[in-house]
Symmetry: C2
Subunit: 215 residues, 2 copies
């Protein structure tokens, strides 16, 4: 007679359930936090979106802030990696071209992540204090340094302030996630299609590269 060991082992059948539920909750939370901000989001609505009783959320995540951090940390990991990859030795034109495409595609593929990050910054970033204090300025300076070297090599117009160029790279690309409603309304569409994103990439790349004097 076969022995049922499932009830004796640490291998719980619910381990799979846990993983599935946590993922459902995180997805629901991402939508809620993006739509309402941290303070405006409600655990009740997140539970409803995740198709789970409200108390289960508190079983899987300690509290509202814990759930928020779980969502936010995934975003932060993605955030600065692309800019960190820029190197002074690389070709300026192809580096920036690649960077602009990556960022726009990120706006297209992860609009909720971008909006949660934007919401957090707009509201004064009370949950990002560690992110913006611990060596953020130093990291940023290492990024502007790349552009300064390009300037010394005559590859980038001297009258450009590198820090503000970086802000331009950020703002122009993230706009397609954060302001998607306004952008699509202006274009008379419900949402943007791939052709729109390609047009955005083409126009931004043209203006920024040419405007920086990069050949």
């Amino acid at each position: 007679m076969p022995l049922d060991i499932s009830s004796h082992t640490g291998e719980k059948p619910a381990g799979r359930i846990r993983q599935k539920n946590e993922q459902q909750i995180l997805a629901a939370a991402e939508q809620e936090f993006a739509a309402c901000g941290f303070k405006g989001a409600s655990m009740r609505d997140i539970a409803e979106r995740a198709n789970l009783p409200k108390a289960n959320i508190h079983y899987y995540f300690k509290n509202k802030l814990g759930l928020y951090f779980a969502v936010l940390s995934d975003i932060i990991d993605l955030w600065d990696s692309t800019l960190s990859n820029l190197r002074a030795e690389d070709d300026a034109a192809s580096s920036l071209t690649k960077y602009l495409r990556k960022k726009i595609e990120f706006s297209r593929d992860h609009p909720l992540a971008s909006r949660i990050f934007a919401s957090e910054i707009i509201s004064g970033g009370p949950n990002l204090d560690r992110y913006f204090t611990e060596g953020y300025e130093e990291w940023f300076r290492s990024r502007t340094a790349v552009f300064e070297q390009w300037q010394q090599q005559g590859k980038l117009d001297a009258s450009i302030a590198p820090s503000h160029l970086i802000f331009l790279l950020w703002s122009s690309t993230q706009h397609y996630a954060d302001f998607a409603l306004q952008v699509s309304s202006a274009l008379g569409k419900k949402s943007l299609d791939n052709q729109d994103y390609e047009q955005a990439i083409t126009t931004l790349t043209h203006i920024i590269l040419k405007g920086c004097g990069i050949k």
Copy 2:
């Protein structure tokens, strides 16, 4: 401007006390809504910020939404007026130079207004549906038409999509209001001074005008 969202304050005799209190409430509400979004803001905190009993807010404004519209309508009035002033007959270089300066100065002088507008759009604009439906697309097309005429006159590079150029003008300038926390953190400052804003104007103007092929 596509639409004027009229104030919801009603028409009551404007005594001196009333005027002063309403202004205090509006200022407090602007801060709260900018920091927490519509859903996250609380009437209690607004009242506290305005140094008034909570019930007074309801005396002066019908409800939370009415107060929000009162704040928002002031913003909307300011919002598109500068872009509406662009004309095909005008000189492209000086028009865009002026526009960029105006928008950056707006970000500097009215950061809260910019953030409330951004918050509203990020959260799906449930209170701006009339703004984005009634003739918004038509108004936007009349704006892109200016750039198209400049292109036909050879004043603007042909490979540029006018609509995306407008998005770039918006995003690059509003960034200094909405993401002020990140910008100042990157620069290692508590807040930006006038020199920073001038540098932003210089860099943006250089890149965008040159990048568009405008002489």
